[in-house]
Amino acid sequence: MSDLYKGYRGEALEVLKKFEALVWCNVKITSNEGVFRGTILPRSETADDLHIVIKLISGYNVGIAAKKITNIDVGERKEAHYKIPEKAFPYDPKKPNVKLLGTGGTIASRLDYRTGAVIPAFTPGELYGSVPELADICNLDTSKLYGVFSENMGPEQWIGTAKAIGEEIEKGIHGIVIGHGTDTMHHTAAALSFMVQDSPVPIVMVGSQRSSDRPSSDAALNLMHSVKTAAESDIAEVMVCMFGPTSDEYGLLHMGTRVRKMHSSYRSTFRTIGDVPIATVSREKITLMRKGYKKRRYDRNVTINTAFEEKVSIVYYYPNMKPDIIDSLIDNDYRGIVIAGTGLGHVNKPLYPALKRAKEKGIAVYMTVQTLWGYVQMYVYDTGRDMMELGVVPSANMLPEVAYIKLCWALGQTDNLDEVKRIMLTPIANEITEREPSNGYLILQGGLPEVEEFISKYRK
């Protein structure tokens, strides 16, 4: 019943009921303003209860104030159901087999033109229908693991995805692509970097910053880049594959533990922090940017370790933070705390007693830097040394989110804090590096003549 008046409430619903006008009916509405002809559309749940929305014949939508409506002539009702066209994905025995695991982000999709809703394309047939170029690269198979928004990804999904990867590798897949919303893609990339070790094949995470219902979307190109990487590259790492520049030119392959989303909306939002990406990828070729990475192997061996402790938190320090923030974590039985400290890794003195309590309670406390670039260095100032006395462990140049994921993973494996420390400080997938190369920190400053010259020569 409610679907017949979908989304309408209050005044607007009363008027629709009075004239027996259901959504998807063709109508002629007479109001104090004039006469409007079109189709009644469902109303968004978050919109007010004062207006009725119709799609005019010209394709435009308009809202008409319910209280001004004097009559509705109701015509034919026609509800459309939208489906992505399925075209069998061609199979070529000479091409590598790639598996796409879906977690929820829509990489390919099509549009319900009447409501603007995006309908995800996911099966191989649907994907072939919308990005036919994929068939030139590989034989593609898909499975949908989850259907959650990026921000709702958590331990359950990380563990499930890691296990699914393990199964695919055992079956002898050539490469794996993971479709993911972009907001927390770097958290998942870190989780998979620790849970899936020594993979023989590329594991490539991909998403889109502009949904694929728009002609300028980055989705199709990202998908092609990621599938190409999974099928053809010799890089057997967990990677994030997203736009390099905002232009439609090439993607970057970022190491899963060194990557971060750095802009709320730009296409080229993902950047490798404190290092350089592994490679660039275009539709034509993959070009390496560094040597140190694990090479593709032709066995089916992989270590899946999905241990995970959920009682871990990140504390983003700010001046004048009160100790009750730490105390509340202690009182709520948290087992691990990652601090994103200022500068080289600092917090203020009033927090010390709380940190001392944490140590006494056997809570693992790790220090990272909120500057993102650079190493924690707690010997330079007395305050740093004081904190180490209090049991705070410096985590070198591990990114705060990566340290958080790794601490969850380490505490999942052992209660022994020395063992946790050994795990935390032993690099597994470049989450800690011995050195920051001289081009590992580059944020070009707009306005400088030399930078302006650079961006005038190279497409952003």
């Binding site: 007010d48 010209s58 001004k68 066209p85 099509r110 603007g116 497409r459």
Partner: protein
């Protein structure tokens, strides 16, 4: 059925247009005078000639409702264009480049729009919804234009009838095209995102001149608000034309209204002649089922030609294709528009769709003798198996483009057996039009999920009502009664000073001709002196008029003080006081004294010099006539 033959433009009568069933409607685009753009806070109306950086994008078609790529989409995809945007930080932010979601709609632009909607006597929309209208040509980096309908069903008077306004929308302006060569199209982005309204009329105009006249009325109406931009590019028209049995064709981007009559005449003729062509094809037994064509690679056969374009192509390792159109003999020379033939329809498609942009891009056997040698035509026709009543078309370029080109030649030829294909066309300088793109499907409009609907409150509408200007034609009627000069009636009726004029005449009792000339002609004179006439605010001018009405400044003083305002932004109104009889006498005495030193012999001449010296002291404050009569006696009155 199509036995009427188009006459030259000048000889066509209303009855002739009635015979072919001429019907035309307008879509008038007008930029609004706002400080900022529509969905971001970049400045509006700032134009840049240089750029600092470039961004490259491709426009990928999205699936339509039926799960198919629609006509336009498919075509644009075939062309595989690299779209380059030239950007400058002063005019463009990350919003226009589709790297930041839209900000809330510009309320200033919305107010102006609502006002214009009310001026058209439209039904106003209570809650506006932002839509996305897809454009795959790259003219907007997102691939769609954000647009919203705020008014429908208006009326404007024309001659003894009413022209219906179907709808009025507020939308963001697109990029300006810099170039489109081969696979690369370049856009300047300064104008992108500026607020624009689009007024759509019903197709109720029956002759080309009517279309222009209705365009003039619409343009004058929006300008009469004083809240729209003027100048090159600020107003642009799209014109829809159809004839009986033809198709509604949209001619895009007509830059000025006086180009409309010839453009619509030529489009009507084109449609009519295409229908006649169909009749001829059917007479020859060629319809969409019997239509036959084939493509052959003739690179080898033609490699020794002396025809330069093909010769150059072969030197560059390109290929040459030949398309045979069965039974089409002489039809590529079938007239479509003034001095334009069916071959142009084909050449246009090859240019736009296959990106073969260097002209000529095709040659054909209906124009033998103008390009390759007759003997070469014979060799080729024999090689491809063309018969006497066939036409062959030759096209050259990269092999990938040739595949598209040869298919497109066949598509366009086959369409001629069906009628007038749906497409948008571009206005050309000579009054003809050329193919622009296949008309997009109805699917190209869908809701913008980035912005919520926006309620237009009744208070907002009531508040705006006080700013609705009188109709310009009513103003003109009054101006005629006042006896204003012919050439300032229309400009004044749509001028931002129209309200001030009324005040000057009714409240300050100023001579209407003086006020009219001051408001319309003086700014032009000052502009010629490179002064900033934007500084002539209604407030400033009102003070000047008031001062004149109080006798503080002379007629001549009006121009003088307007000049001062245009130069400095204000005028020295504090030091204006009426010139008393004593002051006048003193000034003349002073002048006489100064002149007496010069010892001028001729008495008449001496008086003239005194007059000029006295005027220097009194200029702008008192009428020259008064000074004259004081010096010379009352002769001049």
């Amino acid at each position: 059925m199509y036995d009427f033959l188009f006459k030259p433009f000048e000889e066509m009568t209303s009855e002739d247009y009635q015979k072919v069933g001429f019907k035309s409607g307008l879509e008038v685009h007008q930029q609004l005078l706002t400080d900022k753009k529509l969905f971001c806070r970049c400045p509006a109306g700032k134009y840049m000639h240089q750029y600092e950086a470039e961004i490259l994008r491709h426009m990928r078609p999205t699936l339509s409702e039926l799960g198919e790529y629609d006509g336009t989409a498919l075509m644009e995809f075939k062309t595989k264009k690299n779209i380059i945007y030239q950007i400058h930080r002063d005019t463009v932010c990350t919003y226009e480049m589709d790297d930041t979601p839209p900000f809330e709609i510009n309320d200033e632009a919305l107010d102006i729009s609502l006002l214009i909607g009310m001026l058209y006597r439209c039904a106003m929309i209570d809650e506006i919804h932002i839509a996305r209208k897809q454009y795959l040509d790259g003219s907007i980096p997102t691939g769609f234009q954000r647009t919203t309908i705020f008014a429908v069903d208006g009326q404007i008077p024309y001659k003894d009838r009413i022209i219906d306004i179907v709808q009025v929308s507020l939308e963001e302006d697109s990029c300006r095209e810099v170039s489109d060569i081969g696979h690369k199209r370049v856009y300047n982005t300064d104008r992108l995102g500026m607020p624009l309204i689009e007024t759509v009329t019903a197709p109720q105009m029956k002759t080309p001149v009517e279309v222009m006249e209705v365009g003039e009325i619409l343009s004058a109406m929006v300008r009469s608000t004083g809240m729209v931009r003027t100048g090159p590019g600020a107003g642009r028209e799209d014109v829809n034309v159809s004839v009986e049995g033809g198709t509604r064709i949209e001619i895009k981007g007509v830059p000025s209204l006086n180009r409309i009559p010839r453009l619509t005449y030529n489009e009507a003729m084109r449609q009519w002649n295409l229908l006649r062509l169909r009749e001829e094809l059917h007479r020859r037994g060629i319809n969409k089922d019997t239509f036959e064509a084939k493509t052959v690679n003739i690179t080898k056969q033609i490699r020794k030609t002396s025809y330069t374009p093909i010769n150059n192509a072969i030197q560059e390792n390109k290929s040459v294709y030949c398309v045979t159109l069965r039974g089409f003999k002489d039809l590529l020379r079938w007239q479509t528009q003034t001095d334009t033939f069916f071959a142009r329809e084909i050449s246009d498609r090859v240019r736009v769709i296959a990106c073969l942009t260097t002209l000529p891009n095709i040659i054909h056997s209906d124009s033998m003798g103008e390009n390759i040698a007759a003997s070469e035509w014979q060799i080729i026709k024999k090689h491809v198996g063309a018969k006497e009543d066939d036409t062959v078309v030759i096209v050259w370029g990269d092999i990938g483009d040739l595949e598209t080109a040869s298919k497109e030649i066949i598509i366009r030829a086959k369409e001629s057996t069906i009628g007038v294909p749906s497409e948008t066309r571009q206005a050309l300088k000579d009054g003809t039009n050329g193919f622009e793109r296949i008309l997009p499907g109805a699917d190209r409009m869908y809701p913008d999920t980035d912005l919520p609907p926006k309620r237009i409150s009744e208070e907002r509408i009531i508040n705006l009502k006080q700013y609705i200007p009188e109709y310009f034609w009513e103003r003109e009627k009054w101006y005629n009664e006042l006896g204003l000069p012919e050439d300032i009636i229309r400009p004044l009726s749509i001028s931002k000073y129209a309200m001030l004029f009324k005040k000057a005449v009714k409240e300050f009792k100023i001579d209407p001709v003086l006020a009219g000339v001051a408001l319309i002609q003086y700014p032009k004179r000052l502009k010629r002196k490179h002064l900033d006439i934007n500084k002539l605010s209604e407030e400033n001018l009102s003070e000047v008029f008031k001062a004149h009405s109080e006798g503080l400044i002379s007629r001549e003083g009006i121009l003088m003080y307007m000049g001062e305002i245009a130069r400095t932004g204000s005028w020295d109104k504090e030091n204006i006081s009426p010139v008393s009889k004593t002051k006048l006498a003193d000034s003349i005495k002073e002048a006489e004294y100064e002149v007496s030193i010069l010892k001028v012999r001729n008495h008449e001449m001496e008086k003239r010099i005194v007059l000029s010296e006295a005027m220097k002291k009194l200029r702008g404050k008192i009428d020259g006539v008064k000074v004259y009569s004081k010096i010379f006696g009352n002769k001049k009155d």
